[in-house]
Amino acid sequence: MIADRKLAKKGGGWLLERPEGIFTPEDFDDTVREIIKTTRTFVEREYQPVAERLEHGELELNVPLMRKAGEQGLLGIEVPEEYGGLDLSKTISTVVAEELSPTGGFSVTYGAHTSIGTLPLVYFGTPEQKAKYLPKLASGEWIAAYCLTEPGNGSDALAAKTKAVLSEDGKHYVLNGTKMWISNAGFAHLFTVFAKIDGEKFTAFLVERDTPGLSFGAEEKKMGIKASSTRMVILEDVKVPVENVLGTIGKGHQIAFNVLNVGRYKLGAGAIGGAKHALALSAKYAKERVAFGKPIAHFGLIQHKLAEMATRIYAGESATYRTVGLIDEALQGKSGTEAVLAGIEEYAIEASIIKVLGSEVLDYCVDEGVQIHGGYGYSAEYPIERAYRDSRINRIFEGTNEINRLLIPGMLLRRAMKGELPLVDAATRLQKELLEPSFDQPDDLELAQIDNLKKLVLMTSGLAALKYTTKIEEEQEILATAADILIDIYAAESMLLRSRRLGGGVYADMTTLYLYQALDRAQSAALGVLPRLAEGDEMRVMASAVRRLTKHEPTDLVDLRRRIAQKVLEAEGYPQPRA
C-alpha cells in the first residue's frame, strides 16, 4: 500500500525491522500540553460537580456536559475546519481520551459521540451530509450514536439481521430491525445504523432521532459506566431518505471496521488514563493506611502490586503513543476516505494490540487497586470501587479481546499472503538460522531478546500456517498464543526504545521487569502449542529453539519491583516521564 515507506513504519512491519525511533509522550508539544490542561480543568470544573448525580441515574446531565465540551472545542478535534471543527492530530484526540477516562460513564458518552458517532461522517460522508450534520456534532448541539450490534449478533457484526428495502418511488429506504447496547441512545439525535439492503448489501444509514418508527428500549442496568446511556434501538418501518445512505452501498463493513479501529486505539489510551488514576488512588491510600504500626506502602507485597501496575501502564502508554505517532505521520496531508486507508486501516493490527493491552492493564490495575484498599476498596464510598466496575466493559466492547486476539495474527497472515509484508521470506530465512544457531553473546542483550521473540513468533506462526493452511482460523488457541507474544513484543520494544531516550532509571527497570516476564510467558505459551504443530525429532529441535529464543538469566525481581515502587510512592502514582 505504501511502497516508498520503510518497513518499520508499515503496520506490522516492526515484526521484521526494528524502528530507529518512536513517538513518545515526551514528544508532545506545547499545544498538546495546553490541551491536556484544559481537559483536566474541564473534568474538575464541569464533570466533578455533577459526577455523583450522573452516576446515580440522572443521565440527562450528559447533555449539558456535552454542550460544554463542545464550547471548549473538545468535540471538534477530529472534525474538519470547514464543518466547525479544528482538524487536529490523532495525538490530541488520544490525550483527551486518556484525560477523560477517569470520568467513567461520561467518557463513554464522549467517546461514543466523538469516535464511533462522528467519524463515520468525517471519513465517509458526502459534502452535503457533512455540512448538514458535522457542525451540530462539533458543537454538541446534537449527540451521535453508532448502531452496529444486534441482540443476536455482536462479534459477528456482518451477520446483522436489520434490513433495508428501497421504497417504490426510490426516495427512501425502509429499515426494520433491532440494535443492542447502543451508547447515547437515551439522548442522541443522530444514529449511524448498519443494515443489509435486501438482506444482502451491508450498508450504513444516517437516521435522525425524530424519524417515525424509531423507538428505544429502557435503560440497561449495567455493572459499571452507569453514567452513560445504553439502550436498545428499535426500527419499525423507519423511512430513511436515500441521500442519507452513508458511504458506498454494500461497503458498510469498510465504515464499521475502520471506525472500530479508531475506537480501539482510543479505548487503549482511555484505559491507560484509567489505570493511572487507579494507581494514583492506590499509591496515596498505601501511604496513608497504617497496619502493624506502619503505612502499608512499606510492605513488600503492596510494593509488588504498585510496581506491577506502573510497569504495565508504562507498557500500554509507550505502545499507544508509538502507534498514534505512526498514524499522525501517515495522515499528513490526507483526509476523508484516503486518510482512513493510509492511516487507520494500515495500523489496524496495532490498534487491536493496544485495545487488548490497554484493557487488560486497566483490569489488572483496578483489581489490585481494590486489593490495596482492602475492605474499603469494596465500599462505594471509595472511588476505586467505581473504577473497578467501570473497567470491565473495556474487554468486551470495540470488539471483544478474543476477537481482537484473533485479528492480530489473522491480519498479519493476510498481509503476508497479499505480499504486503515479506513474512514468508523472513520465516524461510529463519528456518536456516535456527538449524545453525549462533552462540555469540549479543552486544545489546535486551534488543536481542526482543529480536528473539520476533523470531519465536515467526517460527510458531510459520509452522501453524504450514500445518493448517486455510483452516488456521479454526485453531483459535494457536492464533491467540501468537497474539499474546506479538502484544508483548510490541509493548516491550516500545518500552525499551523509549527508556533509552529517557536515560534509564525507573524506565529501564520497568522495561527489564516487563521483558523478563514477556520471555517467561512466551516460552510457556510456545511450548504449550508446539506438540500440536510438530512431532518427533522436529518437535524436539523446535522445543530447544523455543528455549534458546526465550532464554533469560535469573534476575532479582524483588529488588527491581521495590525500586520501581519507591518511584511510584514518590510520585504518588505513575512516575510520568517529564519531557
Binding site: R33, E71, L86, R578
Partner: protein, 248 residues
C-alpha cells in the same frame, strides 16, 4: 483603551517541592499561571470585551514563563511582552523593570495578582504603582470604568469599601473579582499565532536568596493522661488547644 495583566508563573500549590542544596528544586514541580494572576487575565479580557481596545499580557521572568504567557493568550488576550531574565529578582526590582515596559505601553488599567503564590508576598502590584507614580487599589473584588475613571470595590480586613480612582491605575486582584475562564481548544490554537515580544533584561536584584527550606510538618504526639484526674486533663487540653494550637 488598553488593558494590561501582569502575570507570573509559579509552582502549583498541590505539587510537591523538593529542596536540593538549600534551593527549591522545581524540576519535578508542575508550574502554572499564578491563580491570583488568572483573575487579572480574565478581568482584562472582560474589560476589552466591554470597552473595546486591546488586552495585553506582560510578564517578567525566566524563559519557562512562556508557557504561562501562552495560557493567558489562549484564554483570549491579544498579545504579550515577556521581559526575560533568569534567576531571582526581588519584587521592587521587578516592579522597576516592569514599570519601564508599562510606561511604553501606556495602558489605562494594569491588573496583577493580589498575592504572589511563590514569594507569599503582596508587594508586586503596589510596587509597580509606586514606580509608575500611579494610584493603586489592592484586593479588588469589583471593577467598573466610567468616564475615564474607575469605580472599584476592595476588600478590607472585616469589610469592604468602594473607591473612585483616576486612570491610569493599578489594581491587584482578590478572589471573587470574577470566575476565570479556561482556554478552549480554538483559543489554544489561536494563541500559537499571537505575538510574544521577548525583551532580554539584566536587572540587579536588591535582595539575594541565600537559602530555602520547606517547613516539615509532623505530629507532636502529645498525649494527656486522663485516667487520674480527668478534670485537670480536660482543662489542660483546652489550654493547649487555645494557646498552642490556637484552634479554639
Amino acid at each position: 483603551m488598553k488593558f494590561v495583566a501582569v502575570i507570573r508563573q509559579v509552582p502549583d500549590s498541590e505539587s510537591r517541592l523538593k529542596i536540593d542544596a538549600g534551593r527549591v528544586d522545581l524540576s519535578s514541580a508542575t508550574l502554572i499561571l499564578d491563580q491570583m494572576d488568572e483573575y487579572a487575565v480574565e478581568e482584562v479580557i472582560r474589560l476589552q470585551e466591554k470597552h473595546g481596545g486591546e488586552s495585553v499580557i506582560v510578564a517578567l521572568g525566566p524563559e519557562r514563563f512562556e508557557e504561562a504567557v501562552r495560557t493567558a493568550l489562549a484564554m483570549g488576550a491579544d498579545r504579550a511582552i515577556h521581559l526575560v531574565q533568569e534567576g531571582y529578582l526581588d519584587p521592587i526590582t521587578q516592579a522597576e523593570a516592569l514599570a519601564e515596559a508599562l510606561r511604553a505601553e501606556a495602558p489605562d488599567v494594569v491588573l496583577t495578582g493580589g498575592q504572589q503564590a511563590d514569594w507569599d508576598s503582596q508587594a508586586l502590584g503596589p510596587a509597580i504603582a509606586e514606580a509608575l507614580g500611579w494610584p493603586v487599589v489592592t484586593w479588588t473584588t469589583a471593577l467598573e470604568l466610567e468616564d475615564g475613571q474607575a469605580r472599584a470595590k476592595h476588600d478590607l480586613d472585616e469589610g469592604a469599601e468602594v473607591v473612585r480612582v483616576s486612570l491610569p491605575a493599578v489594581f491587584t486582584t482578590q478572589q471573587g473579582l470574577n470566575e476565570p475562564r479556561y482556554p478552549t481548544l480554538p483559543g489554544i490554537m489561536k494563541a500559537k499565532k499571537k505575538e510574544i515580544r521577548k525583551i532580554p533584561i539584566s536587572a540587579a536584584s536588591k535582595v539575594e536568596v541565600l537559602e530555602q527550606s520547606i517547613q516539615e510538618r509532623s505530629r507532636l504526639g502529645k498525649v494527656l493522661d486522663g485516667t487520674k484526674d480527668p478534670h485537670a486533663a480536660a482543662s489542660e487540653l483546652i489550654r493547649l488547644l487555645h494557646e498552642e494550637a490556637k484552634v479554639i
